[in-house]
Symmetry: C2
Subunit: 272 residues, 2 copies
């Protein structure tokens, strides 16, 4: 089967561009994944990673320069490819299209937490991280630093929101994740699956994370991290097996959640 | 001396608010610190940290709620305090004023690199990191994780730009920094001061950072990090004593520079 030829479009109201219209608003309304929704992949590298991960493409919106640079993808695409000027791309989407390439992708069903718990050895569990940049940054670091999966509390931001996808550089496609539907009740399933729940907190009295990890190098560990600002809720802290901290200096009282996640994942993957 | 009473202002064109006018544009033009320029501290916590670090205040712009909550600061201020409605604050500055408090602060002269090299044991050196969010995030992590100072290449973004200050949570005030005026020539002074220059790169052939650090636990170390995307330039890599990498998984080829800095600082501060 030969792919259909790319379609030049010069009308911002062309209904075929509906997926890309006013993305900033539409996407903001989609804080949690709709069952059969779509998501946006932005830039050549991220689009390739979404396809590689098996997400079906709905369509692509490319500027002429990128339609040429991504010629192999255009040829293989089994979805319409719309070619528009950079100005039209910005007018339709409402933002500057990074690297001249957007793809509208179908979401696929999320795995159940139990599916991930059955095979993972190292987990990141996020509570109420509702900043898309932080969610994306945590996924990128967690994937790079050897975590096997991510579990999200019900109120975490959507990893497939445009900004999360972009900041993660597509790591949201390669690192499996699931959403717990009860919180913190859903953590019981994590412990029942044999994981030690380590809650990250800057509080005094918490154990140095490197010591906690070294004390049981064969443990299956779930790192529990809370939102920027307030950190983990008392309920989540109470549900953990132990409280661990990253030693800090200069009177600084906390790290950004993405930095804390990076350091904690590294400490877990590389015990002393 | 009693501080002058707070001044209610309701005219967006009041010349006393000039420091706060169209900050987004003015600040963007100030990529590099002007010798006698100003900078913005945003939010109560960051304003307190700027004062604690000794920066002289020019004025404060507060909404009524925050003028009350920050009453002790208002009383001690030796600079005018303007009280404005949230709507006026947004109209004047051109952005939503986070937590209803802005302070215009005087810059102070930067130390010379030699001053920092004389006393520091652990340095972060940034090359061409021109994203203000990343600069702020690196400062926050570097301060929290025990670095003593930061050196910047001539083309790094301004740590006192509003967004850098905010993302750093004020760590740009507590962690001393200086700007090298030659690049990479200025790195010779770092090495002459007795530092081992470790260049972070995801390239194969680089040594595991934990091994490199463990091999000489008493070394004074400068961690050299490059910009998001391209990483360190070949010239900077060539000027380093060794190339080190953070081991990565899942086929991810790099970390965000702020995450890489956090992990590298942690690995340096906590050798195996």
């Amino acid at each position: 089967m030969t792919a259909p030829a790319p379609v030049p479009v010069d009308d911002p109201d062309d209904p075929r561009l509906a997926d890309y219209t006013s993305l900033t608003d539409v996407a903001l309304r989609r804080r949690v994944e709709p069952a059969l929704g779509l998501f946006m992949a932005e830039g050549e590298k991220v689009i390739r990673r979404a396809l590689h991960a098996g997400y079906p493409m709905r369509s692509m919106l490319l500027t002429p320069r990128w339609a040429e640079a991504m010629g192999d993808l255009v040829e293989r695409a089994d979805a319409p490819v719309y070619v528009v000027s950079p100005a039209l791309a910005e007018r339709v989407t409402g933002f500057h299209v990074h690297r001249g390439a957007l793809a509208s992708m179908h979401r696929t069903p999320l795995p159940e937490p139990g599916d991930l718990l059955a095979t993972a050895r190292r987990l990141v569990v996020l509570e109420a991280v509702n900043d898309h940049t932080n969610v994306g940054a945590v996924f990128r670091s967690a994937a790079a630093l050897g975590m096997d999966a991510v579990l999200l509390s019900p109120d975490c931001a959507d990893p497939l929101y445009r900004r999360s996808v972009k900041v993660s550089m597509g790591a949201v496609f390669s690192l499996p994740y699931a959403r717990l539907d009860r919180w913190p009740g859903g953590l019981a399933a994590v412990r029942d699956a044999g994981f030690t729940l380590l809650a990250l907190t800057p509080a005094e009295g918490a154990r140095d994370i490197a010591e906690a990890v070294a004390a049981d190098r064969d443990a299956r560990v779930a790192l529990l991290l809370g939102a920027e600002g307030d950190g983990l809720t008392p309920r989540a802290l109470a549900a953990a097996d132990a409280r661990v901290r990253i030693p800090m200096a200069h009177g600084i009282d906390s790290l950004n959640v993405a930095a804390a996640a990076a350091v904690a994942c590294y400490a877990l993957a590389h015990p002393r």
